[in-house]
Symmetry: C2
Subunit: 232 residues, 2 copies
């Protein structure tokens, strides 16, 4: 019997219609869906995005929901990832494909990469299906181009001295999860004397989406800030 | 009669199945499809990607194919964009929505932004529908994560002194259209002593897709190079 493969499926930023046709097909056919959740009682956001697709299925499929706690403790994280990989491998060994659903795109700051590494090490095949990234979702919501012509785009997941170093040579900066480091972000960006446009988007393309001109002070998890510097 | 709106629709890197469900719906319903082509006899790549969706339509729709020549002559480009905006505005004024199809995503180095600006200036509404960007398409094809944890991602459309300036503080670099500036790219990246993984993808997710370890020397238009530096 041939072995199953792991498929990392990007489900986009929130709107179920931002799933690709390819992702929709895979999620309609695959035997096992694996969706991460941050705590045993917290529903998986990625799973909720694909729920309309799954609800249309007439056949049986299994859902795995491994817990990946919101911790920076590397040992604890690795233990949870190892457990998830074991959980997935049982199905692959049985010849079933497993689709791991992940917010946005599987190559951009995705928990998928940790599972991918372990499953490859176990000798199984892995595939990736790209998804709409949160930052292009935010740009569409805000109705602005991120970059044109020879402008440089920089995606920053955490504010530290590096942002200051590269600020001069970049044109547009996407700052992810801004609630984690709002004050330092504001200070760093304000120190740049160029004209700039600043837009923050929270819960992009979801029902509770909010678009704010400037920075945001609240602590919402899915917060992205776009900073566009003018060239003249 | 209410006015129509312009909708910038990202159609992804090439595979028609990488269209989103939302994009598919719009392209099945809108009265007018506008697709750019680079010369009068050259077919529009974006239009070819959505052809399977359009072929399923039973109703009538109109296709506009303005020519945007491959030139750096700003005056000539502006003239062509003005003409395209006039062409589109006639339909908007008549109350018809116009979907402008664009490779990848409408906010990332898209010709859509020039049309968007002009249509907004004429007082019409504009919407954007995000698409799969070429670089996440390339990462999926290559089967590698682009960024994890607090790594910084930099998207570079043109190689010059700026790349050298920001190299130290970035982890992963996506170099677009590498055929334009291959030698300088190779020299700049080779000068960095960190361990690195270099993968080039041409015609990503298309029938003639090619994946190459390292840099590419040929002059194919749709060429992207991913450079991932190791942290240790």
């Amino acid at each position: 019997m041939s072995k199953g493969k792991l498929i990392g499926v990007g489900v986009g930023p929130g709107d179920p219609e931002l799933l690709t046709i390819k992702a929709g097909k895979i999620l309609s056919e695959v035997s096992v869906i694996c969706a991460p959740r941050s705590a045993p009682k917290k529903p998986s956001i990625a799973l909720s995005i694909v729920q309309p697709t799954l609800s249309n299925r007439k056949d049986d499929y299994e859902t795995l929901e491994p817990v990946f706690p919101m911790t920076e403790d590397k040992k604890s994280l690795e233990k949870h990832w190892d457990q998830a990989a074991d959980m997935v491998a049982i199905h692959l060994e049985n010849g079933d494909d497993v689709a791991f659903v992940t917010l946005g795109d599987p190559s951009i700051f995705s928990t998928f990469s940790y599972l991918q590494k372990r499953i490859l090490e176990k000798g199984y095949d892995v595939e990736m299906v790209p998804g709409i990234t949160s930052f292009t979702g935010c740009a569409s919501t805000a109705g602005i181009p991120l970059v044109e012509k020879d402008e440089i785009l920089v995606i920053v997941p955490k504010i530290d001295h590096r942002l200051e170093n590269i600020l001069d040579d970049g044109d547009t900066f996407v700052i992810m999860k801004t609630s984690r480091h709002g004050d330092l972000l504001e200070k760093t960006i304000d120190a740049d004397s160029r004209n700039k446009e600043i837009i923050s988007v929270q819960n992009c393309t979801m029902d509770n989406e909010e678009v704010v001109q400037g920075f945001v002070k609240n602590k919402k998890y899915l917060s992205t800030t776009l900073v566009k510097f003018s060239r003249d």
